[in-house]
Amino acid sequence: MSCNVPQTKTSVLHRMDPRFRLVGLFVLIFAYSFVSDFRLLGAMLIFTLMLFFISGLPARFIVQKLKLPSLIILVLVLILPFVSGQNTLLDLGFISLKQEGLHASGVIAARFLCIITTVMIVLHTAPLLTHVQAMRAMGLPWIMADMALLTGRYLEVLGCDLGRMQTAMRLRGLNASRPGLYMLRTRAWLCGSLLVRGLERADWVYRAMRLRGYGQNRTATLQFRATALDMAVLSAALLAAGTVMGLEIWFGL
């Protein structure tokens, strides 16, 4: 459950101001979600591949990240061609392959791949909590920013707590335990224990924060400094997004 960033050579994406990186990312992925013309989807896929090469992230890392989410979308993509549309491409007897359904599957698959790959590439060029700090610098309410930073900080700690409790349970026969309500109750106790530990730890964390002045003044946010490179890369992203959306509208007319 780590927010680990893979060690890799530093690319232009790594060097960007996180605020500009985030704005560029959101503009791009929303533009991608607007597209359904296959020519533009093809261009999007090429652009995403270029982004991947620029980032210098290991291919294995990206493939690993795409595995689980791809499985989920695969189900939808496989079903749609058989349940939606009017024009039959192939009649298999009890089911038939439909043109509109196939088109919809292709659109969803391409969009999904482009969006999720772009997200993984861009957000894994810096620690996750740096992005939260960038959002805070861009106006995310302090309550949400502070919550997010603390949540991220303690994920691994509580994850380790859970691991230790599960080991202890296993050593006392958890896997061999009776199924049904007994098993559910054991899981419920595990869950309850995590919540109690979380809250008790929160008391101490708040004390530590107060002892170092939290709540007196708004703590200074991390200082970000944009450069000409950030402006240039963001402009390129905005241009790409604008072009893709403009062409989508024009092709649709």
Binding site: M1, C3, L25, I29, F30, S33, F34, S36, P69, I72, I73, L76, L80, V83, S84, G85, A104, V107, I108, R111, F112, L113, I115, I116, V119, L123, L128, H131, P141, I143, M144, D146, M147, A148, L149, L150, T151, Y154, L155, L158, L162, P179, M183, L184, R187, W189, L190, C191, G192, L194, L195, V196, G198, L199, A202, D203, Y206, M209, Y214, G215
Partner: protein, 212 residues
């Protein structure tokens, strides 16, 4: 119950963000009215972490196993912090595991967050004046199960009607019924787990049950 990126049209995803932003604005407004809002942030954050980790606990449902959402319990314990907590959890899930999506963050926040708030009110009003294990278990079960069913309803409605393909009314209706029916066992399990966890908290640490 998380809708991935790439399926929903742009107006819907932007609408989801707008609805969530409005909900967050309302929740933060209520939180800021407290005498010491900063004091509750570590509690809310650590509970959010705990819920995130707890959702990784496997529940064997032969032949497979499921992960719980615990959105009902989250709503019960976090109250007005629930929607911010859910958005934070969804953001981390999207970035760390690719589960859900970033364009669909708002919509997923609506699907899970609004029923979580409903669960909060179901539990609080149901147990008002009654503090024993029976009412706690009963209303926790209802909160947990109904939160899931409401989420499933929203999820099914959005997925089926907004997919970029025309399925025909009959197919859409069937698809929705299949999705809803498939999640009934999950809703029952969530209800039971929520009830059992609430009674555990009542015995071990009632102040956790009082919420943030």
């Amino acid at each position: 119950m998380h809708i991935p990126d790439g399926i929903l049209p742009l107006p819907l995803t932007l609408g989801g963000y707008a609805a969530c932003a409005a909900a967050v604005f309302f929740c933060l407004h209520r939180i800021k009215k407290r005498p010491e809002p900063a004091a509750d942030i570590p509690k809310a954050a650590l509970l959010t972490s705990a819920f995130f980790v707890a959702s990784l606990i496997h529940i064997p449902v032969p032949p497979a196993s499921v992960h719980l959402m615990l959105s009902g319990l989250l709503g019960v314990l976090l109250g007005f912090f629930a929607i911010p907590a859910i958005l934070i959890g969804l953001f981390f899930q999207a970035v760390m595991f690719g589960h859900g999506g970033l364009t669909t963050l708002g919509i997923n926040g609506v699907i899970i967050g609004f029923p979580a708030m409903a669960a909060h009110y179901i539990f609080r009003f149901g147990t008002r004046g009654k503090h024993g294990p029976k009412p706690t278990a009963t209303f926790a079960f209802l909160a947990g199960a109904l939160a899931i069913m409401l989420s499933v309803l929203l999820f099914a409605l959005l997925l089926v009607t907004a997919v970029p393909a025309d399925m025909g009314a009959a197919v859409e209706k069937t698809a929705m019924l299949v999705i809803i029916a498939a999640h009934v066992p999950l809703a029952l399990v969530e209800g039971v787990i929520t009830a059992m966890t609430a009674t555990f908290l009542l015995r071990v640490s009632p102040r956790v049950l009082h919420g943030v």
